[in-house]
C-alpha cells in the first residue's frame, strides 16, 4: 500500500521557507555543476571539431605542437606527392602546407596584447580543413596583404571588423572577411596567404603540412611511408587525434575543477537536505505514527519520505537548470598552452548536461533523505502516539 505523493507535496508546502531554502541550495550546486560541465564541454568541442579522421597532419619529428614544428619547402613537395592523398574537384591533390605563428595582436578595449595564431595557408586549406566558411566579407586575395579572421577571436580583438586594418609582423593587413568553422579552434585564428606571411614571420619554412586521405583506413600506410623516408624526418598524426591531444592539459584542469568544486558543494548540500529531512521527520512523529497505525507498512513510510526528499531535490535541480541556461553560448577565452595562444570557446549547455544535472540533484536528494526516511519508518508507534 503506497502513501500518495500528494501527502509529501502538501507537507513540503506547509513549511515553505525551509523547503525553498533547501531547494535553492540544491539549485546553486546544480547550477555550478552544469556551468562547469558546459565549460569543459565547450572547450572539448572546440578542439574535437578541429580535426577530422581522414585528415593527416605532418610535423617535424618530435614536435609536440604545430608551434614547435618546421618543414622546409622541398619536403612539403615530397609529402604532396604521396599516392594516398585525395584529389579535389580540380584534380589537384588536397594538400595544405601551412605557416603557424602566434603573433601579438591588440586586444579590444585596451586590454594590452593577445597572442593569436596567424596561419598562413593556400586556397587548398579551405577545402582540406573541414567546415571553413566565410561568413562576412570575402576571402583574402592572393598576392595582397589581406587576412580573414575567425569569428570567435574577432570579437576579442581591436580593429578586427571587415575593412579594418590589423597590425602584426611589422605590417598592416586588411581584414577581408570573417570565417566560421563550426565552433572549432580555427575560429580563434587569423588566416592569410602563406606566401605573404612567410617572409615577415618565420622565413621559408612551413610548420605543418595537412592533407586529406583518399579514405581514413589509408592512414597507417601513409604514415609508414612518411616516417620511413630518410629525407623527411617527420611524424604523421591523424588530425582528429592530434587536436584532441593538444587539449590534454587543460582538459585535466577543467575536469579536476568540476569534480573538486561540485563534489565539495554537493556534500554541503546533502548535509542541508539531511538536516531538513530529519527536522521534517521529527516534527511529524505523530503523523507518521498515525500512518503506521492505519496499516501503512514501514517500507511505504520509508519510500514516502525518500520520495519527498527526492522531489525537493528535483525541484532544486530544475531551478538550477533554469539558472544555468543563460550561460549557454557565452564566449570565454584562455590560452592553449601547447600552441601558446588564445583559444576562444563557448559555454555549451546540452540536453545531456542538463540531464546529468537533474540526475545529480536526484542523487543528492536520495542520499540526503535515506537516513531520515529510515528513522521515520522505524518510529515506535505506541510511544509516538502518547
Amino acid at each position: 500500500m503506497k502513501i500518495p505523493l500528494i501527502y509529501n507535496i502538501r507537507s513540503l508546502l506547509r513549511r515553505p521557507v525551509s523547503t525553498l531554502m533547501t531547494a535553492v541550495g540544491v539549485a546553486l550546486v546544480v547550477g555550478v555543476f552544469i556551468a562547469m560541465l558546459a565549460l569543459a564541454n565547450g572547450f572539448k568541442m572546440a578542439l574535437a571539431r578541429t580535426g577530422s579522421p581522414d585528415n593527416v597532419l605532418v610535423l617535424r619529428k618530435g614536435a609536440d605542437s604545430e608551434l614547435a614544428s618546421g618543414i622546409v619547402r622541398d619536403n612539403a613537395a615530397i609529402i604532396a606527392a604521396l599516392p594516398e592523398i585525395a584529389t579535389g574537384a580540380d584534380a589537384r591533390p588536397l594538400v595544405s602546407p601551412e605557416v603557424f605563428v602566434p603573433v601579438d595582436l591588440e586586444a579590444a578595449g585596451g586590454g594590452g596584447d593577445r597572442l593569436v595564431v596567424a596561419r598562413g595557408v593556400t586556397k587548398q586549406a579551405f577545402e582540406v580543413r573541414r567546415n571553413i566558411r566565410i561568413v562576412a566579407g570575402r576571402p583574402f586575395t592572393p598576392g595582397r596583404d589581406e587576412v580573414v579572421i575567425g569569428t570567435a577571436i574577432a570579437s576579442l580583438l581591436a580593429h578586427s571588423g571587415v575593412g579594418d586594418t590589423i597590425h602584426f609582423g611589422g605590417r598592416g593587413w586588411l581584414v577581408a572577411g570573417h570565417f566560421a568553422s563550426g565552433g572549432s579552434a580555427f575560429e580563434s585564428e587569423v588566416w592569410g596567404e602563406n606566401e605573404q606571411l612567410m617572409p615577415v614571420l618565420r622565413g621559408e619554412v612551413y610548420q605543418v603540412v595537412a592533407f586529406r586521405l583518399k579514405s581514413p583506413e589509408l592512414f597507417d600506410r601513409a604514415r609508414r611511408t612518411l616516417e620511413d623516408d630518410p629525407r623527411l624526418q617527420v611524424d604523421a598524426h591523424r588530425e582528429s587525434e592530434f587536436y584532441a591531444s593538444q587539449s590534454a592539459v587543460l582538459k585535466i584542469i577543467l575536469n579536476f575543477l568540476a569534480v573538486f568544486i561540485t563534489g565539495i558543494m554537493a556534500i554541503g548540500a546533502v548535509f542541508g537536505a539531511v538536516n531538513t529531512m530529519y527536522a521534517a521527520v521529527a516534527s511529524r512523529t505523530d503523523e507518521i505514527a498515525v500512518l503506521l497505525t492505519l496499516g501503512f507498512p514501514p517500507r511505504s513510510v520509508l519510500a514516502s519520505f525518500l520520495a519527498e526528499s527526492a522531489f525537493l531535490a528535483l525541484v532544486g535541480g530544475l531551478l538550477g537548470c533554469l539558472v544555468a541556461l543563460p550561460i549557454n553560448g557565452v564566449v570565454t577565452s584562455t590560452t592553449n598552452w601547447s600552441s601558446f595562444s588564445q583559444l576562444a570557446f563557448q559555454f555549451m549547455v546540452t540536453p545531456a548536461i542538463l540531464a546529468r544535472g537533474l540526475a545529480f540533484a536526484l542523487v543528492m536528494g536520495i542520499v540526503g533523505g535515506y537516513f531520515p526516511a529510515r528513522r521515520a519508518a522505524r518510529i515506535p508507534v505506541v510511544q509516538a502516539i502518547r
Binding site: G62, V101, V103, L115, R202, V249, M265, F271, Y278
Partner: protein
C-alpha cells in the same frame, strides 16, 4: 559567561545537526579559500620580477628569436649595466606530463644578472660554468624527481629535435620567486652548437643601473631596432611576467563567481538549520522567559549559538585549506607555483563566517526575544 554550558547543551542536543551544519560551513569556507587562492596566487605570480631588470623580446611575438648580435648593441644603451640572454627549451623529460621549465642561458652573465635572487654554492657555480653539458636545477625540482648531484638526465627536444643529456652540477635555492626552484638552467651554447644556423636568443635580460631609467631604456631600445628585420618589444621584467598571467583569460572572474555561489548555497543550508532548531524550541523559550530570562539575554544566547557553529566551521575549513596546500607543495601541476592561502583570504573567510552567523542567527534570535511567554507555553502539552 555562566550561560555557556546552556549554549553548549543546546548545541549538543542535536549532535548530528550541529556536526552536519558545522561541517557544511567548513566545506564552504574550504572551497572559498581554495578558489580565492587561485586568484591571489595568479595575481602574486603576476607581480613577481624586478623593476630594475628589463626583458627585450621580439615585437612579433615571444616565440620569435632575436639576433645574437643584439648583445653588444644592448650593452651600449645608456643606463644598461649588464646584458644576458635565454631561450625557452621546452624539452620533455620521460613524459609530457612531467612538465617543468627549462632555460638555455648564457651561464656566467645570466647568473650575474640574477645575483641575489637565488643561492648556489660557489664551487657548484664554477662547475656549472666550466662544463658545456652541465646544468643547475632548483631544489624543489630535484626533490620531485629524486635526482642526485652528478646525475645525467636526458631531455627529448620538441622545438630542438633530438636527445639532450645534461649533467647536474648544481642545486640552487630560490631567494626570489623569479628564479623558480621548479626550473632547470643549462648552456645556451649547447643548443646553439647543434643548430648554429637557426638558434638565437629567445629574449634578452637587461640589468639597469637604476629602475627609474626603465621608460627611457625601453623606448630607446625599441627605437634602435624599429626598422630592422627583428624589431623589439621592451618592458620591465614584472610587466613581462604579468603578461603571462593575463594569458589565462578570465579565470579570476570564473573563480570568484563560483566562490560566491558556494558561499550563498551554504549560507542557505546553515540558516535553514538554525531556523529549524529555533522552531523546535519555542516552548522552551517560553519556559525560560517564565523563569525570568530577559529578552536581550535570550537574543544573545541564540546569537552565540549561531556564532559558535559559523566560527567552528570557519576554523575547520580555513585551517584545512591553510594546512593542506602550502605544506604539500600543491602547485596545480606547476601552473600555480607558490600556491598558498593568504592572510587576506583567511580574513575574508572569517568575515564571511561572521556574516553567516548574523544572517542565520538574527531571525531566530529576534523571534526568541520577541516571543510572548503565554503564547509559547500553549505549545507545551
Amino acid at each position: 559567561m555562566k550561560f555557556l554550558p546552556l549554549v553548549w547543551a543546546n548545541l549538543m542536543r542535536h549532535k548530528r545537526r550541529t556536526v552536519l551544519t558545522t561541517a557544511s560551513v567548513a566545506l564552504a569556507l574550504f572551497l572559498f579559500a581554495s578558489l580565492r587562492s587561485v586568484v591571489t596566487t595568479l595575481r602574486a605570480n603576476g607581480e613577481v620580477g624586478s623593476e630594475s631588470r628589463m626583458i627585450v623580446q621580439s615585437a612579433k611575438a615571444i616565440t620569435f628569436f632575436l639576433p645574437r648580435s643584439y648583445d653588444e648593441r644592448l650593452l651600449a644603451v645608456p643606463g644598461v649595466q649588464a646584458v644576458s640572454w635565454a631561450l625557452w627549451f621546452n624539452g620533455v623529460y620521460r613524459d609530457p606530463k612531467d612538465f617543468f621549465a627549462q632555460f638555455a642561458v648564457d651561464p656566467e652573465s645570466y647568473l650575474d644578472v640574477y645575483a641575489g635572487d637565488y643561492s648556489l654554492p660557489p664551487d657548484q657555480r664554477a662547475a656549472f660554468v666550466r662544463e658545456r653539458t652541465a646544468c643547475i636545477v632548483g631544489k624543489r625540482l630535484m626533490d620531485k624527481f629524486g635526482w642526485r648531484l652528478g646525475q645525467n638526465i636526458t631531455l627529448r627536444g620538441t622545438i630542438f629535435q633530438g636527445d639532450w643529456t645534461l649533467t647536474i652540477r648544481g642545486v640552487y635555492r630560490e631567494v626570489d620567486p623569479i628564479f623558480s626552484e621548479d626550473a632547470l638552467h643549462f648552456h645556451y651554447e649547447m643548443v646553439y652548437e647543434r643548430y648554429p644556423r637557426w638558434v638565437q636568443p629567445g629574449w634578452y635580460v637587461l640589468k639597469l643601473e637604476n629602475p627609474s631609467l626603465a621608460p627611457q631604456v625601453a623606448s630607446f631600445v625599441d627605437s634602435v631596432f624599429k626598422n630592422s628585420s627583428d624589431p623589439t618589444k621592451t618592458g620591465t621584467e614584472r610587466a613581462f611576467n604579468a603578461s603571462f598571467v593575463t594569458m589565462w583569460g578570465n579565470v579570476s572572474f570564473l573563480m570568484n563567481s563560483i566562490g560566491m555561489a558556494v558561499v550563498f548555497a551554504i549560507l542557505l543550508v546553515a540558516a535553514n538549520s538554525m531556523m529549524l532548531s529555533a522552531r523546535e524550541r519555542i516552548s522552551e523559550v517560553g519556559v525560560l522567559k517564565t523563569v525570568g530570562f530577559g529578552d536581550w539575554l535570550l537574543f544573545r544566547l541564540v546569537m552565540v549559538e549561531a556564532g559558535a557553529i559559523a566560527l567552528g566551521g570557519a576554523v575547520l575549513g580555513l585551517g584545512a585549506a591553510k594546512a593542506l596546500f602550502r605544506p604539500t607543495g600543491f602547485s596545480a601541476m606547476g601552473f600555480l607555483p607558490g600556491f598558498d592561502v593568504t592572510a587576506g583570504t583567511l580574513g575574508l573567510g572569517f568575515g564571511i563566517a561572521v556574516l553567516l552567523a548574523l544572517a542565520s542567527g538574527l531571525v531566530p534570535a529576534l523571534n526568541a526575544a520577541r516571543l510572548n511567554a503565554v503564547q509559547a507555553l500553549r505549545h507545551v502539552e
